[in-house]
């Protein structure tokens, strides 16, 4: 009996009137956990009952503690008829299972009913007594911490980043069971809510077990998703990055950091002792002790000596030897192999993180993605339906025994995709994929599985215990420049997987960089950026014929490559139009509907100082003899040039011009030439010549040969920049802005438009979709105008096609205010600095940059998209990855070196931001009870002192009186407000005052206006935290160094 759960029901308030005669309610409460139920007394005739119950005690396995939610039902007692349910509260007790997080859950929870919404509140106190259990074969994984945050959480440091963990569980969807025909909508919704709660508990437990196996103690970047596959079931899947985290000791906890997500990390002398030996890894914390107590039989020995062995086997592969060229060559090869060895032990060297400890990310290769179209099979198991009445049978373990092949199918699908991602990354000379994510889009029985990430070379130091020797470390830091290392290409420039346009890094002049860089990660904090960033979106619709089963899947598979290509072209054009050269946080969503496919790509464009200035866009007409046409073309050209100029001004992109001249005339280096001959590609030589004649400026040529192309150009120009004082990005922090003030406003906005079926052409669709997104953004700017100057951060668009002619766009983002004056100053100094650096570099370096473009590779490294196979149980057409797309047109890439911690303070504008922020006026309204929510991993102007646990909630709301509730808008508005309220209440009950890394993962809305009905499912998650305003922190530290700053944070963290 490893745990005792104790629950006390204190009181209720604002209950609804259940007895019309008296206008009062006779309420009582049922408290249920697993199969045990307790009841309170009936509190007669009150809307504000005071039950003040005894402690209800449940003695349970910790496995159940992890899986089961605590279920509290408030009912109205009725002597003559059945008791009426008022509503329910589900409480996830997981945060109580690890010692560092919350110790008690206590507070007012909204009482929620799936038909009526929130109906009053109930005050509950929950505690857990855990007994330590030394059984190694147990199924629970209590103590493993989960974080939604996709970077190392603020008050921790990463000792080891173990890598990818994934799991999925499958069950039948209660909504599609036969019993659903006879039960009430409420019962059906509650069955679904409970099932999903159980499944996510189980999923989390299973992932936890995997983490313990890897000897980690936490999952970072945990992303859990539901696939509502309809008839074929319900899939709950999760991915994350297993880590061994160490709680930061007190001095670091005092740093007023927070703008730069990993500011604290820098203060930690990482190279001192990366080996997390129990005895030497700094102050031992309660967490640590606990972790070890779980696996007492296995001592924390060095993982293996594999790294040493590998070092001795250096010339195993020739990968790096020929190409690295410069001084760093042999070393790089060494590094690469080390990393490789560290990663090769993993099936999938994937990381869901998007921001990294300094030094972790060595090079970035570019975006890799894979998609696959699958047909969902109806795999009904009649035997299973029979036992669904029993609550325990919801558990997946049971399901597995009945239908064992099912989860494997889904597992196999994902494994296939991950394998492809892995091979794409390899082709880019990378051993790892960072910023990795997975998603699905389901329409009827067709499902598109997508995965994407950024191929990267990582520093092995964090991946294993103690692999890097001191001398290597030294060399690294000597050789590698700051702020541009991650841009350097990781692959062999002579064996490039796709044609690309390489130049010497504009920052260090030593390594090659691509001319454009696309990534799915956040901008590394040490990256040198010129000017500000901006949100860039590519939007695309394609009609498809309605079809069934395999024909449908084939149609979709055939469309996918074209969509990817066009999305990519649009992104590239828009990026150039903005005068920028890199995209961060790229997220491409392909949504499938009955009769169309939608593609929406969002990313944050920036100008990286290390990459070359992007060339302009040139328009070429196909019929040069027509005079008026020519005039039109030149008019367009002028407009485009004006826009580029305007954007450069708007985003303050003034790259130092000195560098241009020096780089201007590239002369091929003889040594390089000789090497070209050595390479297998015979055609490379010619290509190099050809490219030289082309000149340095790679003007992007748009050919206007038909109306489609015309439309494209027009649509390029229709994107309106945000009103002055507004910036937007989809990454954590806005490049170029760093002096955030403390006002934040998180919001969700949903729009659904109905297309008139008459004008369903691709162009009309595109225009509608484009207008929808643009208008939505305009509305946001207008709504938030009182916050100017401000930036919309982490703008997250999701598109779904709920019905034939409906398009739904959901946006969640956070608006953060900043101080304009300081921003201007900072950018100025920043630009000056980079100017200086550029000029000194120019004096020192007399190397000639080389341009190289091997347009015609002998063969594709990957076969193009496979044709649809006949076997349609695994019916799949993998859409071509980015690599293929890029082959067609574009340029992406990198390689290079590592940056050092030493230079960060100078180079990073964040450092200054921090300093300034400290002097910013404190926020006046830090009232008790206010819970902040943000999709970011930090809170501006504040320090996160404690993580209380993961919030992962799933709600269903249904109505049969849609008109009375204000129509679809009224219904959904109220529901989302209620979801926010429930999230805030849970956080407050845990003792927290904010949710970070908040995400609305699903918002499935269905309506039937004719029947006056609507239903909506929402799934949200985030990390509950305690934060302290920096101003308060300072007061505490200077005035009362031994007192707790806040009752809810432990003294140890805040004091001393």
């Amino acid at each position: 009996m490893p745990g005792k759960l104790k629950v006390k029901i204190v009181a209720g308030r604002h209950l609804p009137v259940m007895d019309r005669a008296s206008d009062l309610t006779d309420a009582f409460v049922e408290v249920k956990f697993g199969n045990t139920t307790f009841k309170t007394d009936v509190y007669l005739k009150s809307l504000n009952p005071q039950w003040n119950s005894e402690w209800f005690k449940f003695e349970v396995d910790d496995e159940d503690l992890q899986d089961e939610p605590l279920q509290i039902t408030v009912l109205d007692h009725d002597t003559y008829s059945a008791n009426d349910a008022i509503g329910k509260v589900y409480i996830d007790i997981d945060p109580l299972l690890y010692s560092e997080a919350a110790t008690v859950i206590s507070g007012w929870f909204p009482i929620y009913d799936t038909i009526h919404g929130i109906r009053g509140e109930i005050n509950v106190v929950v505690k857990v007594d855990l007994f330590n259990d030394l059984n190694r074969f147990r199924q629970s994984s209590c103590g493993v911490k989960f974080f939604c945050t996709t970077s190392i959480p603020k008050c921790y440091r990463a000792v080891i980043i173990h890598g990818f963990v994934e799991e999925l569980v499958v069950n039948e969807d209660p909504e599609y069971q036969w019993i659903d025909r006879i039960r009430t909508p409420r019962a059906s919704n509650e069955a679904r809510q409970r099932l999903i709660s159980l499944m996510s508990g189980e999923l989390q437990r299973k992932i936890g077990l995997k983490v313990l196996e890897m000897r980690g103690n936490a999952v970072v970047g945990y992303l859990q998703c539901f696939d509502l596959e309809g008839e074929s079931g319900l899939v709950v899947r999760a991915i994350g990055t297993a880590c061994t985290l160490d709680k930061l000791s007190s001095p670091a906890a005092f740093l007023p950091a927070c703008n730069s997500p990993s500011k604290e990390m820098k203060e930690i002398p990482f190279n001192e002792d990366p080996n997390p030996n129990t005895h030497s890894s700094g102050p031992s914390t309660p967490l640590k002790n606990q972790t070890y107590s779980f696996s007492p039989s296995k001592s924390y020995s060095r993982q293996s000596s594999s790294s040493d062995t590998d070092l001795s086997l250096t010339p195993k592969t020739g990968m790096g030897s020929g190409s690295a060229g410069k001084e760093g060559g042999p070393f790089k090869a060494l590094l690469r192999q080390q990393t490789q060895s560290a990663l090769e032990q993993r099936e999938f060297p994937f990381f869901t993180l998007t921001a990294f400890p300094p030094g972790f990310l060595v090079h970035v290769g570019g975006v890799v993605s894979a998609r696959s179209v699958k047909l969902l099979d109806r795999i009904h198991n009649p035997a299973f339906v029979g036992i669904m009445g029993n609550t325990r049978s919801y558990k997946l373990l049971d399901w597995n025994s009945f239908n064992s092949d099912e989860p494997e199918t889904r597992d196999a699908w994902w494994a296939e995709i991950r394998q492809e991602i892995k091979s794409h990354a390899k082709a880019l000379g990378c051993h790892a994929v960072v910023g990795y994510s997975e998603s699905t889009s389901i329409c009827e029985e067709v499902c598109i599985l997508s995965a994407s990430g950024t191929a990267a070379v990582l520093n092995p130091r964090f991946l294993q215990d103690g692999t890097v020797e001191g001398c290597l470390e030294q060399r690294l830091e000597e050789n590698l420049p700051a702020g541009c290392g991650f841009c350097h290409i990781p692959y062999d420039e002579l064996n490039m997987p796709f044609p690309a346009h390489l130049t010497y890094c504009y920052n260090c002049r030593k390594q090659k960089v691509p001319d454009v860089l696309f990534t799915t990660i956040d901008l590394p904090i040490d990256a040198t950026v010129i000017g500000k960033g901006c949100l860039i979106q590519a939007r695309l619709c394609r009609l498809k014929k309605k079809a069934q089963a395999e024909a449908n899947a084939t149609a979709i598979s055939n469309l996918l490559p074209f969509m990817e290509y066009e999305v990519h072209t649009q992104l590239m054009n828009k990026l150039k139009l903005k005068g920028m050269n890199a995209l961060f946080g790229l997220r491409i969503q392909i949504t499938v509907g009955e009769n169309m496919l939608m593609g929406l790509a969002s990313a944050t464009g920036v100008y990286l100082a290390a990459l070359p200035t992007p060339g302009g866009i040139q328009i070429a007409g196909k019929t040069p003899n027509d005079g008026s046409y020519e005039q039109h073309i030149s008019h367009m050209q002028k407009k485009i040039n004006d826009t580029i100029a305007k954007n450069k001004e708007l985003y303050e992109i003034n790259p130092p011009e000195v560098s241009e001249e020096i780089i201007g005339s590239p002369i091929p280096e003889p040594r390089q030439r000789s090497r070209l001959l050595r390479s297998q590609s015979e055609s490379s030589d010619e290509v190099t010549e050809l490219d030289l004649s082309h000149g340095k400026k790679d003007a992007f040529v748009l050919e206007i040969d038909d109306t489609d192309a015309m439309e494209d150009v027009h649509s390029l120009l229709t994107d309106v920049p945000p009103p002055s004082g507004f910036y937007s990005c989809n990454t954590e922090i806005m490049p170029g802005i760093n002096n955030w003030t403390s006002e934040i406003q998180m919001f969700t906005s949903v729009r659904v438009i109905r297309l008139s079926s008459l004008n369903l052409t691709n162009q009309a669709l595109n225009k509608n979709f484009n207008d929808l997104c643009e208008n939505l953004l305009k509305s946001l700017y207008f709504k938030l105008r009182s916050m100017i100057p401000c930036c919309l951060c982490h703008v997250n668009f999701t598109v779904s096609l709920p019905e034939d002619e409906l398009i739904q766009v959901t946006v969640t983002a956070v608006a953060i205010t900043f101080d304009k004056n300081q921003a201007l100053q900072t950018t100025k100094t920043h630009v000056e600095k980079s100017l200086q650096r550029a000029s000194t570099d120019n004096e020192e370096l007399l190397q000639f940059p080389l341009e190289l473009c091997s347009d015609s590779l002998p063969s594709h490294p990957f076969p193009p998209a496979k044709a649809t196979s006949v076997d349609y149980s695994s019916f799949a057409d993998r859409c071509s990855s980015w690599i293929e797309l890029i082959k067609l047109k574009a340029q992406t890439i990198r390689r290079g070196s590592i940056k050092t911690t030493v230079t960060v303070e100078k180079a990073s504008p964040m450092g200054e931001g921090n300093f300034r922020n400290r002097s910013a006026p404190p926020c006046a309204n830090s009232t008790v009870g206010v819970v902040k929510m943000t999709p970011l991993s930090f809170i501006p102007g504040a320090k996160i002192t404690k993580y209380l646990g993961i919030i992962n909630m799933f709600f269903i709301r249904e109505t049969t009186s849609l008109r009375e509730e204000g129509g679809v808008s009224g219904f959904l508005h109220a529901f989302i407000a209620e979801v926010f309220a429930m999230v805030r209440a849970h956080v407050a009950a845990l003792g927290g005052n904010a949710v970070v890394s908040y995400i609305m993962k699903q918002c499935v809305f269905m309506e039937n206006p004719n029947k006056n009905q609507a239903q909506c499912l929402i799934n949200v998650s985030g990390d509950a935290v305690v934060f302290v305003r920096e101003s308060e922190l300072e007061v505490v530290s200077t005035q009362q160094p031994t007192a707790n700053c806040q009752p809810s944070c432990t003294g140890g963290e805040v004091t001393t």
Binding site: R13, H14, W108, P110, I118, E121, P723, Q745, M746, F747, T748, S749, V750, R751, V752, I753, R754, L755, S756, N768, D771, L772, N775, K778, S779, L780, Y781, F782, K783, R785, L806, Q808, N925, T927, V930, V931, K932, M933, G966, V968, S969, G970, L972, H973, A974, I976, A977, E978, F980, A981, R984, A985, F1005
Partner: protein, 359 residues
């Protein structure tokens, strides 16, 4: 392309003060959009009409959801659905005025029964005052709601209103007056009362609540501030002897005239009218036993005192001197035993009359 659904939900509920006012004033969404366009907001922000429409709809939806909570403001403080900073909550209720009301409207319904019947007349009031029907309804419902909540409550009327509706002292006093008038059904609509403002009546109501209700003598009874002290009203009949007893009346007159001779610009008019005025004031008191006459209190005061004085062009200061002397002189009437009763009556009435005496 038609927009089926369009919503914006902030973690902190966004409330636009201007739109809130438009909503309170009862404008429809399209009217509100038109008014906002006229305010020049499009030019200031560079927004389009569609954006404005969507924004206005959104705010209206939020307000509609908030309205239920505004009906019981303490709920607004404890509810969890809308995260509104406390400073904003106060603005919603008071300063930006869910509970604010229009002077023109309140004058129309002051003293009327807050019933369905009156609610039906709101159409006419709306046309007459130019206040939208929606706004009239809101104001009327506010009056009625406050009335219902405090009508049978113990303790000070103003305190109760403040506590249950979180209003400022000033606004709570106004509501107390409205409740008091509605409960006692004082006639305020007659033509000759049209010159009086809500402020005049509220002033009188406050004096009457302080001195003439049950609460004035016993603070532990229900309805203490809402109902007039019936016993007191009965006793007022005793004052009748001041005019019925001819000797007493003459003595009273001579005391007043002696004291005021040379001090009053309108002395002769006063001397000539003394008996009429005194009869008027005392008869008003004596009649207050009947509910109907209570309702006509203000009509009577204006008819019997304000109008006669005004027709003789008494300056306000002369009225004050007269009333002071008139009240004080009764203490010197040896044959009159109801000094305390007189003071309770006349003290309040004097204050009221001075307030009512203007053009």
């Amino acid at each position: 392309m038609t927009s089926e659904l369009d919503i914006f939900v902030g973690n902190t509920t966004l409330i636009d003060e201007d739109v809130y006012r438009l909503w309170l004033d009862g404008y429809s969404v399209s009217d509100a959009v038109a008014l906002r366009v006229r305010s020049g907001i499009l030019e200031q922000t560079g927004a389009t009409a569609a954006v404005l429409q969507s924004d206005t709809m959104d705010h209206y939806r939020t307000f509609h959801m908030l309205e239920r909570l505004l009906h019981a403001p303490p709920k607004l403080l404890h509810q969890l659905i809308f995260q509104i900073p406390p400073s904003r909550q106060a603005l919603l209720i008071e300063r930006w005025g869910y509970y604010a009301f229009d002077e023109a409207f309140v004058r129309e319904v002051l003293g009327k029964k807050l019933s369905k019947g009156t609610k039906k007349d709101l159409d006419d009031i709306s046309t007459k005052t130019g206040i939208t029907l929606k706004s009239c309804r809101r104001q009327f419902d506010n009056f009625k709601r406050v009335f219902k909540v405090v009508e049978e409550m113990r303790g000070s009327l103003v305190d109760n209103i403040q506590q249950h509706f979180l209003l400022s002292d000033r606004l709570a006093r106004d509501y107390a007056a409205i409740v008091f008038f509605a409960n006692n059904r004082f006639e305020t609509g007659k033509k000759k009362l049209q010159y009086l403002s809500f402020g005049d009546f509220a002033f009188c109501a406050e004096l009457m609540i302080q001195n003439w209700t049950l609460g004035a003598v016993d603070s532990q009874v229900d309805d203490m501030d809402v109902d007039l002290d019936k016993e007191f009203l009965q006793d007022l009949k005793e004052l009748k002897m001041l005019v019925a007893d001819k000797d007493l009346l003459d003595l009273h007159k001579s005391l007043v005239c002696t004291a005021l001779r040379g001090k009053l610009g309108v002395f002769s008019e006063m001397e000539a009218n003394f008996k009429n005025l005194s009869r008027g004031l005392v008869n008003v008191a004596a009649k207050l036993t009947h509910n109907k006459d209570v309702r006509d209190l203000f009509v009577d005061l204006v008819e019997k005192f304000v109008e006669p004085c005004r027709s003789d062009h008494w300056p306000l200061n002369d009225v004050r001197l007269f009333l002071n002397q008139y009240s004080a002189s009764v203490h010197s009437l040896d044959g009159f035993r109801h000094q305390a009763l007189w003071d309770r009556y006349m003290g309040t009435l004097r204050g009221c009359l001075l307030r009512l005496y203007h053009d």
